[in-house]
């Protein structure tokens, strides 16, 4: 096991910045989010998780699909990034959410070109969670604070250093690039790593048993339990904009003179316009239907189409909901009622 001493982390990041565009958690408008850094000093290391979802680095809130000069009428795609990217300090739940997005953007072998241009260009240095939040429930959805799935390199914070493990081939290449800065772990440090790993999983105290939920939900579309959840929902869409597995988008054109760009941007199933057809017909006109769609999509439809649930237990929707709707309570209630 190799380590990087805390006082050498600056050199570590500087080395990475020679080869890569490095994105890391920084403080912006009083919130922590991932941004490209220009110096290691910008990086915030004391954070439980970022406010924004880091999936925005791969599937941004708004992006240009192509541009058209109406005089020429030929669509042109914006240039692709040329420098490889490192995302430093992404949490295991968020790394896992990218694996879920991969499935959507690769459905039936049809690759979304914009998403995969960024995704294939990026290396994930995942930072294990030693201080999970009270809203975290990753262990209930098949993950955990030290889940290596989706990581290229895995870092764990010890008292004096970070333990560093290469996970993928991409990660091994980076490992070689920073090899000079690494040291071997002492026996004491190895022990402390094992202890921290064990403790982190115990610290996740909210557990929801989801065994058999998706099968149960299949027959529950008309169940009266759906009359309860939406009552306090104000349809603000905060949950979807912060959810790292939410991927719904809209496409529209912007025009100035002869210059046109077609953009795509995040959309939200909590809004009535989401499904409104031009005839005026709306398949999901009520908030009850929209809340049900969101829960069913993540815990049943997604399982049906991709074989896993589309929730990583990051807790952002719980932490930020203005009316304190808690997905864990919804799931518990769904598990309790008679199907």
């Amino acid at each position: 096991m190799k380590l990087i001493k805390k006082n050498r982390l600056k050199d570590f990041l500087n080395t990475l910045m020679n080869y890569y565009d490095v994105f890391a958690p920084v403080l912006k408008h009083k919130k922590i989010r991932f941004q490209k850094i220009s110096t290691p000093e910008e990086v915030i290391l004391e954070y439980s998780n970022t406010h924004n979802k880091p999936t925005e680095l791969f599937f941004p809130q708004c992006e240009v699909l192509f541009e058209v000069d109406l005089k020429e009428n030929i669509p042109e795609q914006p240039p692709k990034p040329d420098k490889p990217v490192i995302v430093f300090g992404i949490r295991p739940c968020d790394a896992r959410s990218l694996q879920i997005l991969d499935k959507v953007f690769h459905w039936d072998g049809v690759d979304d070109p914009y998403y995969f241009a960024r995704r294939n260009n990026a290396i994930l240095i995942v930072m294990g969670c030693t201080e999970p939040r009270s809203t975290c429930f990753c262990t209930s959805v098949g993950s955990g604070p030290m889940d290596h799935n989706g990581a290229d390199l895995f870092l764990t914070e010890l008292p004096e250093a970070y333990a560093i493990e290469p996970v993928s081939e991409k990660g091994k290449a980076v490992f070689e690039q920073v090899n000079d800065l690494l040291e071997d772990a002492t026996e004491g440090e190895l022990k402390s790593l094992a202890e921290l790993t064990r403790r982190a999983e115990q610290m996740i105290d909210s557990e929801v048993n989801l065994n058999g939920l998706s099968d149960k939900l299949r027959g529950m579309f008309d169940h009266p339990v759906w009359d309860e959840f939406h009552l306090s929902c104000i349809g603000c869409g905060t949950c979807t904009y912060l959810c790292p597995t939410c991927h719904c988008f809209d496409i529209l054109d912007e025009k100035k003179g002869n210059y046109v760009r077609r953009i795509r941007f995040w959309d939200c199933c909590m809004y009535p316009y989401f499904t409104l057809q031009s005839s005026g017909h709306n398949p999901r006109p009520t908030q009850k239907q929209r809340v049900r769609q969101r829960v069913m999509h993540k815990f049943q439809y997604f399982v049906e189409n991709f074989g896993e649930i589309a929730c990583v237990g990051c807790g952002r929707c719980i932490l930020n909901c203005p009316v304190n709707l808690d997905i864990r309570s919804i799931l518990k209630r769904l598990m309790e009622v008679k199907g």
Binding site: N73, Q77, V110, F221, F249, V260, F274, S278
Partner: protein, 280 residues
């Protein structure tokens, strides 16, 4: 020029026909001749049509794949894109992405009779099938062909010249109708709602596939009539038209339960539709 999945092909409008006061047909040809030559699709598949600067809109391909020189779409002027399309002239260039989705399983229907039931602007998605099977290369593969078509009024019937052609043909039967009050003094068709007219016509369900497309209210009242005529749900097909943006199963908008209209649809049997949540 780099192209992606989301970049439309350019198509020139080579002919415009007004079907009704608010419904228009475009005859389109790919600007790239190779594209036009290689363009194939299954009846029932759809495309996304663009006016650069206004956006993209989803309609079925309304012409049959047997027409090789061009293809057609038919749209009602209701929103931003269709309003912009309405302002275009012959010679204008629009964008097209497609074909997307899965069309009607025509091959599995060989040897069967076909019953088409359409209302208003629900005819274009079925017209592509009708003209395909009327093609000399296909016609003998199918049994009797019956079309029941209705609209609110005489002026709301689309493809009027073609309705006339179909009436004159001996290898198919057309029953046309308009809602009560929608007739004109010289109207020679039936007067009544589609479900009623269908009930009176009593088409046989024996060895027959029914295709139905029209406003939800028409479909709602026609399905029980088809059941009473002995049609099994698995032999009744329709097409869904949920709002969609990408057409590729990514934008997450067109799903009815776990059924993504853009990928598994838009064609669906009444049997499968019954198993889905009523969110269409």
């Amino acid at each position: 020029m780099t192209r992606t999945l989301y970049t439309p092909e350019l198509c020139e409008i080579i002919e415009i026909r007004d079907e009704t006061p608010d419904t228009r047909t475009f005859r389109l040809r790919f600007v790239d001749e190779e594209k036009q030559k290689n363009f194939t699709f299954t009846p029932g598949q759809f495309g996304l049509y663009s006016v650069f600067g206004e956006g993209e809109s989803t309609f079925c391909i309304a012409s049959p794949p047997t027409w090789k020189e061009y293809f057609e779409c038919c749209f009602r002027v209701v929103g931003r894109v269709t309003k912009a399309l309405r302002l275009l002239d012959v010679g204008s260039v629009i964008g097209f992405r497609g074909p997307y989705g899965i069309g009607f399983p025509l091959e599995s229907w060989e040897g069967k009779n076909l019953l088409f039931i359409a209302g208003g602007i629900g005819l274009p998605p079925l017209r592509t099938v009708i003209w395909t099977i009327l093609d000399p290369g296909y016609r003998q593969k199918y049994g009797e062909v019956t079309v029941v078509y209705g609209a609110r009024s005489v002026s709301d019937l689309v493809y009027k010249p073609e309705l006339k052609q179909w009436e004159e043909r001996s290898d198919m039967k057309l029953i046309k109708t308009v809602d009560p009050g929608g007739e004109t003094p010289d109207w020679d068709g039936k007067i009544g709602f589609v479900p009623t007219v269908l009930e009176e016509a009593k088409p046989s369900s024996n060895n027959t596939i029914a295709l139905i497309c029209g406003p939800p209210i028409m479909i709602k009242f026609t399905l029980p009539v088809l059941s009473s005529l002995g049609f099994e749900l698995k032999n009744v097909y329709t097409t869904l038209e949920n709002r969609m943006k990408c057409g590729l199963g990514k934008c997450g908008r067109c799903n009815v339960g776990d059924f993504y209209v853009c990928k598994e649809g838009p064609v669906i049997t009444a049997e499968r539709l019954k198993s889905l949540p009523p969110e269409y």
